[in-house]
């Protein structure tokens, strides 16, 4: 696989997720303006922060006049799960020069990670010549571009856009399409079951902390089961 093929594989893999992300981007643009954030700042936030649910939260907290430290802390908590993605892709990116690591870390969202990870794990072991990281660049860039366009549409056209078509359901459906084929052992099945159940049980916790705890619980159960199986 050469660079162009890897890039377009990542781009194609993230397309179904864009279907679900686009409505969120539009709504974010609308919510940001309603919170009193100027259009230029609302747009810039999609580049500077570039994290869907954190941007919603940020817009709401700015609208409510929350103190700076509390707002930053809340945004950090919402994005805590990205540390898991960082740990997950770190070995695959270890051989890359720093500029690549900076770029791919900036682009590392739920959707970019989800779209690229099955291909990253299936690709040949990373080496200087391999193009595996271009898959992550493709999915990351695709999502970034889509998010900017959707935000712009929300800021410019705003509430006139239909945002309640049910297209957001593309997100869970695509995650299902990605996860289900990956579950090929008892340990992975248990990890999914525990993480899913815990996420539902802890959904009421503030700032999406429940998601992070649930994912951790899944990791621990999965690893514990592999250990006993050996």
């Amino acid at each position: 696989m050469n660079r162009l093929q890897a890039f377009s594989l990542g781009l194609r893999s993230v397309m179904p997720l864009l279907l679900g992300v686009a409505p969120f981007g539009v709504i974010y643009g609308v919510v940001a303006l309603q919170s009193g954030i100027p259009p230029l700042a609302a747009m810039a936030m999609s580049s500077i922060v570039f994290a869907g649910s954190a941007q919603f939260l940020l817009a709401q907290l700015v609208g409510a006049g929350a103190p700076l430290l509390l707002t930053a802390g809340a945004v950090g908590l919402v994005n805590l799960r990205h540390a898991l993605y960082s740990a997950s892709v770190a070995p695959v990116l270890a051989h890359l020069p720093r500029r690549w690591k900076l770029l791919l870390a900036y682009l590392l969202t739920d959707e970019a990670y989800a779209a690229a990870i099955p291909h990253l794990l299936a690709a040949a072991p990373p080496s200087r010549s391999s193009a595996g990281h271009w898959i992550l660049f493709g999915s990351g860039f695709g999502l970034w571009a889509g998010w900017q366009v959707a935000t712009l549409a929300g800021v410019l056209i705003g509430a006139q856009l239909p945002s309640n078509l049910g297209l957001d359901f593309a997100l869970p459906l695509t995650f299902i399409a990605i996860v289900v084929p990956m579950v090929d052992s008892r340990a992975l099945f248990a990890a999914a079951l525990v993480a899913g159940a815990a996420a539902v049980a802890l959904a009421a916790l503030p700032y999406k902390v429940g998601l992070f705890i649930a994912a951790l619980a899944g990791l621990v159960v999965g690893a514990a089961l592999t250990r006993t199986a050996k």
Binding site: A41, A90, F169, G196, A197
Partner: protein
Amino acid sequence: MNLWWLMLACGGLTFGIRYSFIAAEGHYQPPPWFRRLLPFVPVAALTALTAPELLLVQGELILGGDNPRLWAGLVAIFVAALWRNTLLTIGCGFLALFALQRL
């Protein structure tokens, strides 16, 4: 002005979280149990994102017939397990959702 500082702080924090392990790789020796957790990240994290979308309706656990997203999601899981095809899974999931919403 304050808003821009806030955005920069939140952007820096978000980037720092995403860069953390990528930057540290090669500079530290993680304990062996840490490496054993990593293969479970995709499945555990993405299932944690997905399960509440299917099972909760505005924060309430709804398992009955009045939660079409749950049943459409189960159709998608079934299709994904059988055919391992992304577009087919998404298509069947949406078809099931629209069909259930018309009932």
